[in-house]
Amino acid sequence: MKFDLHQALNQLNLDADWVGLRQVNETTTTHAVRDGRPESNGRSITQGVMVEVLAQGQFGYAATNHLDQASLQSAAEQAYQQAIATSNWAIHSFTPDVRPKAVGQYQSPFQQPLDLISVADQLDLLVQVCDTLHVSDQIVKTSAFTQTLETEQNFVSSNGSDTHQNFGFVITDYGATAQDGSVIQKRTDNGPLARCYQAGSEVFDPEQVLARAQQVGEQAIALLAAEDCPTTTTNLVLAPDQMMLQIHESVGHPLELDRILGDERNYAGSSFVKLSDFGQLVYGSPLMNITFDPTVPGEFAGYAFDDAGMPAQREYLIKAGLLLRGLGSLESQARAKVPGVANLRARSWNRAPIDRMANLNLEPGQSTFAEMISSIESGIYMEANRSWSIDDYRNKFQFGCEYARLIENGKLTKVLRNPNYRGVTNQFWGNLAQVGDRSTFEMYGTPYCGKGEPNQCIRVGHASPTCVFNNIEVFGGAA
């Protein structure tokens, strides 16, 4: 029997300034095959309701997975008691303005429904992927993973909000590990779990999937015989599947207003960005244009409303290199008095929403891939993230990639293994020298952006063209 969220709200007996109920039902179906044999197959269901209450200027919350009126009433009373008990210690006195009335619907785009492909067909494809990845006996491990999530999120509130959002997520990951003596190299399909989309079963088109698997296997073998990435300072060309990580770590996280306001200092960290920097700070070169855009069809973190009920819309965070706007929800905007976006998001029904990235993209520029490479006398081209680390102020980073090519006299030449690079955020983006055009623009994402206390992993999407950075320190692996 379907739980009636409107009726539950109407029957709550509570003297609060505002009450909201956010219900999440999510079914996750996972299939994993290793070396052609089943590794893990199954589905998980989570469902529950988060009750948020505003009283005396403070929010309290309580979440339950028991969907009956008595449990909802009990949760509402607990949330109210938390609001009252902490109101004298509140970091900010909120009003219902941070929970505007929202009415509307959202449906993830898809060409074919997720249930079009049977479990048997799904497993058959994954076994074929493993077979295709195994291009040589030097491939010592193959893996093929798919995960689909069907998520229904409903939100009702005492000030008339009524939203219904249906999401379909597809995540795939195919990888091959190659070994020659003590040399071990792993290559994946654009980086671990990078192919994350709002989509349907069209993502499992066998022809496309197997073609990519063939290339992954061949490149894993090529890496075995490759030279290590040299240690030098040079021109660095980053493919979109590495740009996504670069954008995520060195643009997304430092622009989160809750980090700047100090909420994350005990866990994820703070930011080198100050509130006074908005409208003032030159973040990168004039070629740098960053948008927050949950409206991009098919990108992983699309939605119509955030968890406060704020309508999602595209906003420039950085335009022509100038920092304009932060990743901050209505709550953070009220605290910080700077412009933000619709990004108050929770991982599920059992967590309170906080400032998160959604789709955070670097807008395309003017250069074709061929033009960029041909303009470089000496440099390195890197693809697909395999290692990531950055300090708690989001300054000093070091990232590693799966696969690289040397650029000599305007041409891609040798394959290089163990490519890494490091830099400092502001200087790095200041060295952005070329931005690829739309023909180089690709879309990826991750299900595992971690942040918050209590911790929450959330889905984010990142799209970018290929980019060129000048004067970057690059280096290889252990001796």
Binding site: S182, R265, N266, N350, S387, S389, E453
Partner: protein
């Protein structure tokens, strides 16, 4: 604020969950056909979370959440189903039986799995640790008066946690504990911080206030101008929390037998004859009693599993599935073959001698955002964080601007490892992704020569 009444234990609520879980498990097991095998896992919590920033409350609330995971095995095939556990038998039974039916439909569509491990009865256990915790309403008055006027930021998490396991071979495990963790930073105007945790099963107001006073004293040391240190190699002391970060990396493509077999382990060279420092001994120690010894298959790990003894790799972590695939012996490891209760044995470095033995170099309280920069080479990169100092001739000179390091464990846990402290600290696991974690690690400090900093 020294007198705070503590809440009555939530034993009654846990007893109701235990009863419902067992009835639900009985119901599922009664449904099985002759060729079917089933394992049933429960994970649940009734948690209070209070998030703090600058000595104020940012967010506060309660989460009641539990879920069941069942794994059906039949005809050499297996699949799992996870679903909510509400504690209401009438509700949960309908969902559970429906999920069992789904699994029966899915199973024939799956390929045969040659490494299936059938449930066994390894023996049953029941552990329940009652606590004396603050009620949610009491927490602000207990925590906050002691930290007014200082920048106190972090999270308080509290309440009962449950893990349970039943299977069709007759095995039953129940583990319940009531516990709290306060994970906080006292942050200086320089933005450097004293990071600390307070964890346990009984809230002790006097002990809490004494710890805060101690943290405030440490904070004064941070109230000096920050010094910029050039990249290079330095003698380095890692406090126990920093040691825990370094050793924790071995749970991610390190001590797992499956990762060793599949080309994903950073410790492969140890199996090929290399060794680490003779000062280093690492083991899984379940005698600490902080986490259940049973894994998702119901296997019970030995009370101790030595992994590195005097720098030699003597065991990897092996679960029954890996054991079957590679014809090795299982030691009851988790599904991911990561450490659940790690302990590094102490050395001979006395606490009062740490600075003198360090001489001139870096004292690191905490590390941040570690990752493999070259896993097969054992190379780890990461950042310094919180209270880290430049030390000259045994005296703390100044807090440092954060540094990036990049060095191989074969070096800093090998020939460069000079000594370990003669005492250990318990570093609680404070992760709350999806659910609150159990346990932690027991770690000494490390004194390392010529540790490499790169940025």
């Amino acid at each position: 604020m020294s007198q705070v009444a503590v809440a009555a234990s939530s034993t009654a609520a846990l007893a109701a969950w235990e009863s419902t879980f067992n009835q639900l498990a009985d119901c599922l097991l009664d449904q099985l056909g002759g060729n079917e095998h089933l394992s049933i896992e429960l994970a649940g919590e009734q948690s209070h979370f209070m998030r703090l920033n600058a000595g104020k409350v940012r967010q506060s609330g309660l989460v009641t959440d539990a879920s069941i995971n069942i794994r059906l095995i039949a005809n050499q095939r297996t699949a799992y189903a996870g679903f909510p556990f509400t504690g209401d038998l009438a509700v949960d039974r309908v969902v559970a039986l429906s999920q069992l039916q789904h699994l029966r439909q899915d199973l024939p569509q799956l390929p045969e799995d040659p490494y299936i491990v059938l449930p066994e009865n390894f023996g049953s256990s029941r552990e329940a640790y009652a606590g004396q915790l603050l009620t949610p309403d009491q927490v602000p008055a207990a925590l906050l008066p002691a930290v007014q006027g200082i920048d106190f930021t972090g999270i308080y998490a509290s309440g009962p946690l449950v893990r349970a396991n039943r299977n069709s071979a007759g095995q039953q495990h129940w583990f319940a504990t009531e516990a709290f963790v306060l994970d906080y930073s006292l942050i200086a105007p320089s933005e450097k911080a004293v990071k600390a945790t307070l964890a346990g099963q009984q809230w002790d107001q006097t002990g809490y206030e004494a710890q805060i006073q101690q943290s405030m004293t440490q904070l004064q040391v941070l109230d000096r101008p920050v010094q910029v240190i050039d990249p290079g190699q330095y003698r380095t002391y890692f406090a126990p929390a920093a040691t825990a970060e370094l050793i924790g990396m071995l749970s991610w493509g390190g001590v797992s037998e499956a990762s060793m077999q599949q080309g994903g382990s950073a410790l492969t060279k140890l199996r090929e004859g290399e060794s680490l420092s003779p000062h280093l001994t690492l083991k899984e120690n379940f005698k600490l009693g902080l986490v259940p010894r049973f894994n998702s298959l119901g296997e019970v790990a030995p009370a101790e599993v030595p992994l590195l003894v005097d720098g030699q790799l003597v065991n990897t972590l092996v679960n029954a599935r890996t054991a079957k695939e590679y014809q090795v012996k299982s030691n009851g490891a988790s599904a991911y073959e990561g450490m659940r209760s790690p302990e590094v044995l102490p050395g001979t470095l006395k606490t009062e001698d740490i600075l003198n033995q360090l001489g001139t170099g870096l004292y690191l309280s905490n590390l941040h955002y570690l990752n493999w920069s070259d896993r097969s080479g054992g190379r780890i990169t990461g950042m310094t964080r919180y209270a880290c100092f430049w030390v000259e001739q045994g005296e703390i000179i100044a807090p440092i601007k954060d540094l990036r390091f990049d060095d191989s464990l074969y070096e800093f846990l090998g020939a460069k490892l000079e000594n370990l402290t003669d005492t250990q600290e318990f570093i609680p696991c404070v992760d709350t992704y999806g659910a609150r974690s159990l346990g932690g690690s027991l770690m000494p400090g490390l004194l390392v020569n010529n540790f490499t900093f790169t940025l």
